[in-house]
């Protein structure tokens, strides 16, 4: 155990194990999949037509939004050039499917069907349709393991979208809630606030939704408020996720260079969390 966790003696062996476990995950999820296939095969025509219509409507709305987004991102780029900071690179994403979830209730790990042969590397961020999902911790050749946000060993630097207050969002082992740590009672964090990734840890790109604040409890006897948030990503329901394969993890000169101009809009009220 120590050879593995501290010394990392099984570096490449772990990737092999990740690949070797895929058939097991595939086989064990077979009954559920068969039920899904049967459901699709016997779905009524009306249901399919209704679903098709709903999807068309959604695609139209999304396309309209994308038009505005193109204009906005062009404007954003121009403004960034004026500010002489690096342009935000467009991230390359890789669509992948979740093959299995680790059965261990103390460990929140998902197995996805893309690996190093598709350019997945440990440390890359993973998102789903509605928010940040987790990060890659092991990349096999054709599969990799993703640590979910809600794992008790995972933390994300984030900020409140409304006012830019910086916080740390930590998993607590439950799949439907996250803890927001080191929130002083004077900090402006309220119920319903959207927390987005701040990109400060250099691991996750900034601007992706992480969680929505559910409750803020102030106990006068405690130095920090107890803040509980609900993850934006559907950690327990998503079937498809996107791996952000670009920018590469680790010290990337393109990201590290402009140390003077932090893109995060931080209000003067924001306090640095005490160590």
């Amino acid at each position: 155990m120590f050879a593995d966790s501290r010394a990392g003696l099984f570096g490449s062996g772990r990737a092999v194990m990740s690949d070797a476990s895929v058939p097991f995950y595939w086989l064990s999820s077979l009954p559920g999949r068969m039920a899904g296939w049967l459901g699709e095969a016997f779905a009524s025509r009306d249901a399919l037509v209704a679903e098709n219509r709903a999807l068309r409507a959604e695609a139209l709305v999304l396309r309209a939004r994308a038009q505005r987004l193109a204009a906005l991102s062009a404007e954003n780029l121009r403004l960034r050039e004026l500010l002489n900071s690096t342009a935000l690179l467009e991230e390359n994403v890789l669509v992948s499917e979740i093959i299995g979830i680790s059965p261990d209730p103390g460990l929140q790990v998902a197995v996805i069907d893309k690996g190093s042969s598709s350019g997945v590397m440990p440390g890359q961020a993973v998102i789903d349709a509605s928010g940040l999902f987790g990060q890659v911790i092991e990349a096999g050749i054709a599969s990799s393991r993703v640590l979910l946000l809600s794992d008790s060993t995972h933390a994300v630097p984030a900020q409140v979208l409304r006012n830019g207050v910086r916080v740390v969002v930590e998993g607590n082992g439950r799949i439907d809630s996250l803890d927001v740590d080191y929130v002083a009672p004077t900090m402006d964090v309220r119920h319903g606030d959207l927390l987005v990734s701040s990109g400060l840890g250099q691991r996750f790109p900034g601007g992706y939704p992480v969680a929505v604040v559910e409750s803020v409890t102030n106990d006068p006897g405690q130095p920090f408020s107890v803040v509980v948030a609900r993850p934006s990503a559907q950690l327990d329901r998503s079937r498809h996720v996107l791996v952000l394969t670009d920018p590469a993890p680790g010290p990337d000169p393109g990201v590290l260079a402009p140390t003077a101009s932090t893109p995060a809009p931080v209000t003067p009220m924001a306090k640095e969390p005490a160590p």
């Binding site: 155990m1 966790s5 999820s29 979830i101 680790s102 460990l107 327990d236």
Partner: protein, 162 residues
């Protein structure tokens, strides 16, 4: 030992690993029976010559590799459990089925506590009482497996070990 027994041993191990990975609905997942403990418990009673602590260790290691995370906590927990079963084997075989269920619960709980303790090394948060849920359901699954041991294994084993 009959010639088919070794095949049975590895088939049942593969089945236990598959059951371990089987997706369950969210509310049911914490109550997933501790299949690995049942497997080790059964085989140590049935065939301690071929399935000893080494078998428990290998099965635990395979489960660790499948689950991700640190390599070894399950191997450790199951080996310790296998040792206890091995020492108490003669007594357990003479127990009635309800008594065996209690034994399964206690030993599986021991394995679970050891497993969570070992996972604590890498900074995982401690779990509450729900960590014993799997042991409880495993105890209730034991009659299904234990009956089989009773009809096919017990006498044979008793002669083998005597």
């Amino acid at each position: 030992m009959r010639p088919g027994s070794s095949l049975m041993l590895w088939t049942s191990t593969a089945v236990a690993l598959l059951l371990l990975l089987m997706p369950l609905p969210g509310w049911m997942a914490p109550a997933r029976p501790d299949w690995l403990s049942l497997l080790v418990f059964y085989w140590l009673l049935r065939d301690p010559v071929n399935a000893g602590m080494g078998f428990a260790w290998l099965a635990g290691l395979a489960a660790d590799a499948l689950c991700g995370g640190m390599l070894g906590p399950r191997a450790l927990a199951l080996s310790v459990m296998a040792y206890v079963v091995w020492v108490l084997r003669a007594q357990i075989l003479h127990h009635s089925l309800p008594q065996q269920m209690v034994t399964v619960f206690v030993l599986s709980a021991l394995a679970q506590v050891l497993l969570r303790w070992a996972q604590g090394f890498t900074g995982h948060a401690a779990m509450g009482v729900e960590l014993l849920m799997g042991s409880l359901t495993a105890a209730f699954c034991w009659p299904l497996i234990g009956m089989w041991l009773g009809t096919r294994g017990r006498m044979e084993n008793w002669h083998a070990s005597a």
